[in-house]
Amino acid sequence: MTGDLIFILLALLTLVPAVWVVMSRNLVHAGFGLLFTLFGAAGLYAYMGADFIAVAQLMVYIGGVLVLVLFTVMMTHVPRSHGNHGYDRYVPASVFALLTFGVLYKTITSVNWSASTSPAEPTIARIGAQIMTDFIFPFEYVSLVLLAAMIGAALLTREERPAGPANAAKDTEVAP
């Protein structure tokens, strides 16, 4: 069936780069792998008929968060690692991954999937109408949350140290 084929393709597009993200020793490569994973996830949302979430995924995650991730990598100052460091974290990482998988598995198996087999409809207009009528106040709170995030980001990154030769050099620190 064509639908299954599309799903398998989208799942592969999500999972294969995800493995790449985890296995890559280069943080920039991992960031670029995230591009494909997030895109595949957007495709999966669209496949399930969640059109608004698919658009939000494309715009916010691929358009915004990924840029932020790459900027974060640019700030990390970690030279490309060739050694085998990181293996000592296998045990806690495995425990955490197994716990996450357990929660996901329990959630997936507890959902009554047969109840949601109605054909997909466009949801964006309905979301818009709901925002304008029943959810006006939550909608306005969102802007306050965004305002708080913006001011918080500005405060956290504001330079408190006085300008001087030592601090000026700090900005352009180079790899050893």
Partner: protein
Amino acid sequence: MSMTSPLGTVATGLQAHYATVFVFILVGFVFAGIALGVAKLLRPSNPSPAKQSTYECGEVPIGSSWVRFNVRFYLVALFFIVFDVEVIFLYPWAVVFKQLFPVPGMGAIVFWEMIIFLAILALGLAYVWVKGDLDWVKKLAQRTAMTPAPAAAAEEEVPAS
């Protein structure tokens, strides 16, 4: 719509739209793939150490290109995400605006609700603007005035060394 045929009888209206998107993405990949593939077939390949070194405007690169960038890049990205999320909320509003605006009693709400939403975020933008968090050049100019020699080097965000 001829795009619905690959999906057969399961194609609803929404799926037909996605088929269009899918074909669009496919054409994009094929276009880029052909352009890059033909170039790879045609171009000669004889790499040398000089060719493969990092381009540094003719200079010989010194050290790693992996430097710590200024935190201001991160700040700008954060501001960008805030307004990115704002656009996501504008989108469903824009879709229904034309339908809801003429409805009696709704028009003013629909209009002013979004104006308030935008105004609150504009307040944040005004705050970071006034406080100088958006200023990129001003801080560097101050630094240059105080400490001429080292600060001049700091103006380059990606130094060669």
